[in-house]
Amino acid sequence: MTRGGAATVLVCVGAIIGRLVQSGGFGWFVQQRMRIPLALAALIILAFGLYLLLVHPGDDTDHDGHDHDGHDHDGHDDHDHGRVPKVGWLMALPILVLISVAPTALGASAADRLEAITPLETTERFPPLSSDEPTEMGVYDFIERAVWDDERTLEGAEVRLVGLVVNDDEIDDGFRLTRFLVSCCAADGLPVQVVVHGLAEELPNDTWVDIVVTWRPPEVPYGESEGTDDIEADIVELQILDEPPADPYESPY
């Protein structure tokens, strides 16, 4: 890779990552806490690239008159200033994918591919829920209460959840409200799902919704039924969101 090639790749990487931070799109791939580290990384890469592009130390004449180590034919005679290995070109690949495929956050297809998870047993005590207005809650927290709360604080309470629609042929009056739980980056994302009922028409997959639900306690305790262990709820109110939330994922930590 020449100095010019290295500079081109670095400027492109820095600019596209910077743009991804600025637009908020980085949240599709990593957690919100990576915003500042990523912004700094983008700036540094951009600065490196611009330096290589603009500053050429005048040692060009150095090349032929300087026998560096007496082994001038053993693979070290690539007299570029940077001597960057060719594998560096691969750094452009994620940028090309970002531009062409323009991937976004994990959605229905990933939810179909992955097995939904259930929160591990917890000894946490759950505070009681307000009875005046719907309590906002993460999908994971909702499921955790539904499964592990001995005091059944969820019973009868209205809860506001935000998630995306994943349709299931076996559910004819609703869908699987889905959110992904991401501990590091989207590559480790696993879906958490609540089956919600009480919807006449079908919404398209991957629609973001803000819904108020009430928990439908299971007829047989979770884990003891013959069929699925879906956490179920009834829709009280449903609002379609035009834009996904700033952070499409929930974090377990």
């Binding site: 791939f29 540094i44 693979g75 007299h79 060719k86 452009a92 994918v97 991937p103 976004t104 297809s109």
Partner: protein, 330 residues
């Protein structure tokens, strides 16, 4: 440091091909912009999922990579081999453990530590100590440990296990080398090409070369991790994941094949959550000390004969250390 960049490259007679690479890059960028949102292929859900996974591993690792190469650039510009050597005792019995600890204090990824180790030997450090440094520096430095903690927020003991298993590997190899006076295996180590350059220029050149080098191999690793997740059927992955021995062998093999930078490998391992922590620890301990990229670099810096002995030895010791520590801690 800039000379010992190892992987044999094409002779200078193919100079025009470099311009082809740049042209190909420009065409690819233009095509990417033109095709965006215009072809049904890019609406394919599997391809979109694959892209999300691939890009997310790369993006997550990027800040750590940049931090690492910034430090390696600073070392390249401001720390002379003589300075480092002054802090390493001459006697192997003392030199080996202290070189291991020096690895902790000098952050960098494996691509950066190969040339540093080469310089140490050239400057008169006992080879066993330089090798200990070579194995310890990329595996147990603070940047790597922090990125491991970030990648596995729920499994703090994995960070401790990684530190211990990697340190054990480094010390074992170093002690073995000191005992059999294996210095004779080392070919002459090439000197650095310190041009009369400004420190700023040395800094940027070392940092960008390490960035592109490590970044390129990171992309290979991210490609493999995303593809494994999507192409290999869940049932196969789960079958391997359910068998501890198979998982360990698979991750040892992956670590060698993928050649991911140690500052980024934890994110790849975190992206394969169905596997046991011990098998992923094997990946994290083997990767920084031996992989295809490193074999190429070792052969370039220390000679082919050395690389042929060092590679299988290190692989074996690293796998055993990881499994033993994993059994105790995880």
């Amino acid at each position: 440091m800039s000379s010992i960049d190892a992987a044999p490259e094409a002779p200078p007679t193919v100079r025009p091909s470099r311009e082809w690479a740049q042209l190909a890059f420009a065409v690819a960028m233009a095509l990417a912009f033109l095709l965006r949102g215009r072809t049904a292929l890019f609406e394919n859900p599997a391809l979109r999922d694959w892209s999300t996974l691939f890009v997310s591993v790369c993006v997550q690792a990027l800040p750590f990579l940049v931090l690492g190469v910034t430090i390696s650039g600073l070392i390249g510009a401001f720390v002379s081999p003589e300075l480092v050597e002054r802090f390493v005792p001459k006697r192997p019995v003392l030199a080996v453990p202290s070189a291991g600890l020096a690895g902790f204090a000098l952050p960098g990824c494996e691509c950066g530590s190969v040339p540093i180790a080469g310089r140490l030997v050239a400057a008169g450090t006992p080879p066993a100590a330089a090798l200990t440094f070579l194995l310890a520096a990329p595996a147990i430095n603070p940047v790597v440990l922090v990125s491991t903690a970030v990648a596995f927020p729920g499994d703090r003991q994995l960070v401790v296990a990684r530190f211990l298993a990697s340190f054990l590997t480094a010390i074992t190899i170093g002690a073995w080398w000191a005992r059999r006076q294996g210095g004779s295996l080392l070919d002459i180590v090439k000197d650095d090409h310190s041009h009369e350059q400004s420190r700023l220029n040395t800094f940027v050149e070392v940092a960008t070369r390490d960035l592109l080098h490590a970044g390129g191999y990171l992309v290979v690793g991210a490609l493999a991790a995303a593809t494994l997740q999507l192409v290999v059927p869940r049932s196969v992955l789960n079958t391997v994941a359910d068998d501890e021995l198979l998982s360990i062998l698979m991750f040892a093999g992956l670590a060698v094949l993928l050649s991911i930078c140690s500052e980024a490998d934890a994110f790849v391992a975190a992206g394969l959550p169905q596997f046991s922590l011990t098998s992923r620890l094997v990946f994290l301990v083997v990767g920084p000390v031996i992989d295809l990229k490193l074999v190429a670099m070792h052969a370039g810096v220390f000679g082919r004969r050395f690389a042929m002995v060092f590679a299988p030895l290190t692989l074996g010791v690293a796998v055993v250390s990881a499994v033993v520590i994993g059994r105790i801690l995880l």
